[in-house]
Assembly symmetry: C2
Homo-oligomer: 123 residues x 2
């Protein structure tokens, strides 16, 4: 399972996609340990660049990502992880997808409604 | 159009997704200039980390990516670019998507057939 972790200082990009809808939910980073945990446990695990530690997605919110399939790209420096997302949303700001802003005439405009109240989940 | 280019040394991650099928085609990186060119020209333009220069996707192959929509995530450090891909494939190895290998029992296994012969395109 040789992946190239060298280009981003020990990390690879992981694109998280909903297995049923095809919606891209978020982008995270994994180091080798996070990748191994993801494969072993079946739950998407990232490396948090801000907290400098492993981060089991959903450890606080319960909104875990159940791995359905993992693919890698030609350079083996990126992953595409197909998931079933538990809970109403992946984004810590209360949206189903982190990509909740779309460019319209030079402005970032909200493209979806909130699916939960983050204040109720993260306290 | 304030984006956060600081986390990856002047770059942000750009996930390229087929606007019709929802298939994730590739992951690239953009610096501020590549992002501006992408918006201005309507063709996905990246920053090549290996060649250290702007890279209009398809400049050699003709397989350009026509931008349909650009979204950004909660942290504004990643882009989701919805495209119409011109030509038979995005991957320089001859596949429709760069994510042509899927993990099966600890091995990366090809998940799609080649759609063109790269030797005919890149010479």
């Amino acid at each position: 399972m040789d992946l190239d972790f060298s280009k981003l200082g020990g990390l690879i990009t992981a694109v998280i996609q909903d297995h049923a809808s095809g919606r891209v939910l978020m982008v995270g980073f994994m180091n080798e340990e996070a990748f191994r945990k993801t494969v072993e446990t079946g739950y998407a695990t990232f490396y948090s660049r801000s907290r400098n530690k492993l981060w089991l997605k959903g450890e606080t919110s319960g909104h875990r990502l159940v791995v359905k399939e993992i693919s890698t790209d030609c350079d083996k420096d990126a992953l595409l992880v197909s998931v079933e997302a538990l809970g109403p949303g992946v984004c810590h700001e209360g949206y189903q997808s982190c990509f909740f802003r779309t460019l319209r005439e030079g402005q970032w405009v909200e493209n979806q409604a909130r699916t939960y109240d983050p204040a109720e989940v993260y306290r």
